[in-house]
Symmetry: C2
Subunit: 506 residues, 2 copies
């Protein structure tokens, strides 16, 4: 390798690291907006985030990047596939070519509309007023169409948007995988409904004081491996995890004193995201080998800690006595079996974030289908609430009686996140398949969980997923680690194995 | 006025507004660093703030500003003295010429050293370890010398640093005013010490629960006019107020359960800063007519609400019954007179932020003299702790027994704020002089305070100070509003009037 290759590589990396610093500032603005910011400051916050989005876009599309890539793409540094340097060069080439097709003005409009949209959505949801939200939703859809058309797509517009969250994935492939899942999930849910059994979920609706929930949740997050030396837990309306720097990962939750699972599984979920973030190689911070590979993989990490671990009997064998000590008034007279069954209650409902592990994926399917229809001009923003309600009736057997509990329930669309929802179900599928492999590699995980030991699973994930950054695209990474392409059978098998004894299924 | 004048003016304002947006992002980074950020994130936060400081400096010294100023400085827009447009043009010319003399590398070094210095100081203070702090202090002093030498100064290096906080003020003038204050203050403090009287401050050291203090402090801040719709109150180690945008002013405090005045007067103080911030004209946000004029004036606003209002008997005539209701265990058996006397306890002490209204200015004098000696090479960083302790013995009759309670007690120097301390005493003097004028203009303020009415004073301040932004330099503004130049007699008169009856002075 000659000097000019080496110096181009170093200059490129330095440029990218500085851009990542700017992006991390944007993440602080976003985190603060959703946790602490006074409402009256929304307009100025939009100014701040718009300005930063413009600066970041300028840096991401700096023609100098093209020159560096030209020098590097055929150099020995890029030769080895999946190497760190090769990943930097190939991933940045891909990103640079994509982003260079987006006009700066569109990027700034998207950023501003996202901040404004979220503020309008918040009010519209609180007041159950879809008409107040429709104009900004229309604008968002129009901008996202422009975005897709500007960057181009292999098969359909939705591909271009999906790529922002699940790089190199195709809509047609997601459609196929989710259809396979649906075909096995719907009969399972019907079997459960027909079983005549159901847990006593009233025990979860007793009084669980918020301050105790916070402490209990923090302890659980710490035990599974979220580092509070390098992170925080705060309150918000719509929980999320945000990385503000290599040693600053912030998770958020919302406490409901009359419903225990809401905050607790929320914390496990966001801590799972946080553990991924904290497991990335910090020496590669801001560069593709030190970045998360896709939202689907990110979600697999949160889902695994929430569901495969947090809703397992073994997990509660360890934690239930602690829960009883923390919430004596609510849990003194409750058995582990009843508590465990209540945690795994399966029943169709209207609200995605409250949905159980099994029906959850039907909520995603609905959104995935509606998003595609919106992008392809097969559905108007005006007709969206009716279409939403109809699909809920068809897929889940329940029709929302108002838009706050219907089409207005999620923040995503208001912030311009179209193409995001399917990554939740991809996450569920990735989680199941990865967990099956971890189980095979690590022996009796149940025994470890039952004694409060989570280190071996977390280290396995760090080794196999976190530390690989973007060196493999998500689909390849899963195949590399598990030995086969993504397959919905792992999730179905795990659900059947857990739910059959609880519901007495054959 | 011709088209090119108008378009240069508009382009300049647009440029400045965008820079202000970047600066407000920097304020969020600083606010978060001091309230919530995990300690491990300090290094990355320094990267973020350094990058932003560089971007801001680039914008502040963009040669285009020079071209706009050239077009504008002799145009009709700049003609009228103290007009908004004239203020924009003259203030930016001044700032541009000053900042253009600073190399970008020095600006970035100053920003990085400030963040690192604060982190090192925090640990050094906690561990009472001056040796751990000395190297970064040395570096800071060296950088500040470079800064002063780069921008130049009329009489002494310290002038250049003072100008960052109290624009257009001279060291020699501050020295003269503070000497006048000292000459009358020292005998007054001696008289008090010799009076044989002192309040029972034990009643302030009873148990005041933090959560109740927070609520009580919030109510008081709201009542004097701090808007929580456009601001927040949070906890921190070293209380401050920060403006993050036209509708986002954040104040902070620290609760001591065994000492009531600490958080309460801290909140009044920071709310006073916040009310100034919220009283600026938001249509001029980011431009000189919408910015605070100087730290001395800023401090006058906080001090007035803290001291002239908050430590008055009238204020407690209204508030004491509420305090008794909020803290029944601590205050049920306490009389208003005893409480009021305890609030106005005067006695020499070692810690500036705990000092009373009278002795406080001696703490400032010590720092002001030491800073000048450091800048003029008359004192080394190694000898600083001894010099500090000697001056405390000379001026306040008490010698610190460790550096944590001595030279390490303040955050300022660690963050590169040299030339800042005298603005506190200027603030005290401005506050007294402005308050005397308000009293003359508004009639019986005591009667208003005693019935919980603070609107007329706040509106008077808004009209006379806040809404004028930087249209007058601080010294001129005070003269314009009060009819005479800054004079220490107002503060001395007010202290004598309040303290004489309490201490039975002749």
């Amino acid at each position: 390798m000659n000097d000019s290759t080496q110096s181009a590589y170093e200059a490129l990396c330095q440029h990218l690291r500085q851009t990542a610093v700017l992006e991390s500032i944007d993440h602080l603005l976003g985190w603060d907006e959703r946790t602490l910011m006074p409402v009256a400051a929304a307009e100025h916050r939009a100014d701040q985030m718009t300005l930063l989005a413009g600066l970041i876009h300028q840096r991401n599309t700096d023609p100098q990047i093209g020159h560096w890539i030209d020098v590097l793409i055929d150099s020995p540094l890029a030769e080895e596939e999946h190497s760190d340097a090769g990943t930097v060069i190939r991933q940045i080439k891909r990103q640079f070519e994509k982003l260079s097709k987006l006009p700066q003005s569109l990027v700034e409009q998207l950023a501003r509309t996202a901040v404004e949209g979220q503020q309008i959505w918040q009010k519209a949801r609180a007041e159950d007023d879809y008409a107040a939200f429709a104009p900004i939703m229309k604008k968002t859809i129009e901008l996202k169409r422009q975005q897709a058309d500007a960057v181009g797509f292999p098969e359909c517009r939705y591909d271009a948007l999906l790529d922002d969250f699940e790089p190199q994935e195709r809509t047609s492939n997601v459609r196929r995988v989710l259809a396979g899942l649906r075909d096995e999930l719907v009969p399972l849910i019907c079997q459960i409904a027909d079983s005549g059994r159901s847990p006593d979920i009233g025990l979860l609706r007793r009084h669980y004081p918020a301050a105790v929930q916070e402490k209990f949740g923090q302890q659980a997050a710490r035990r599974i491996g979220f580092s509070f030396d390098r992170g925080r837990l705060d309150e918000t309306v719509h929980p999320f995890c945000s990385g503000l720097g290599p040693n600053d990962t912030r998770i958020t939750t919302r406490y409901e004193e009359q419903f225990f699972p809401s905050a607790f599984f929320g914390i496990l979920h966001e801590a799972g995201h946080g553990i991924y973030d904290q497991g990335l190689r910090s020496e590669w911070y801001g560069l593709p080998p030190g970045k998360d590979v896709s939202l689907g993989i990110h979600e697999s990490q949160s889902r695994m800690w929430e569901n495969q671990v947090g809703r397992s009997r073994a997990f509660w064998e360890y934690n239930f006595p602690h829960a009883q000590a923390a919430f004596p008034a609510a849990l003194a007279d409750v058995s582990l079996d009843d508590f465990y069954f209540a945690m795994n209650d399966v029943r169709p409902s209207l609200i995605r974030v409250e949905a159980d592990e099994a029906t959850y994926n039907l909520h995603i399917l609905i959104r995935f289908e509606l998003e595609q229809a919106l992008m392809e001009d097969q559905l108007t923003v005006e007709d969206l609430p009716d279409a939403w309600n109809q699909k809920y009736e068809d897929y889940l057997g329940a029709r929302p009686t108002n838009d706050a509990d219907g089409v207005l329930q999620d923040i995503h669309w208001s912030g311009g996140a179209i193409g995001y929802f399917p990554t939740y179900s991809l996450g569920n599928l990735y989680a199941a398949q990865l967990f099956a492999t971890a189980h095979r590699d690590l022996g009796d995980l149940d025994q470890q969980f039952a004694s409060g030991q989570f280190d071996s699973l977390r280290e396995w994930l760090q080794q196999n997923i976190h530390r690989r950054g973007q060196c493999y695209p998500a689909a390849e990474l899963v195949e590399l680690v598990t030995g086969e392409p993504l397959n919905h059978k792992f999730l179905i098998d795990q659900l059947r194995a857990k739910l059959s004894p609880l519901y007495g299924l054959s």
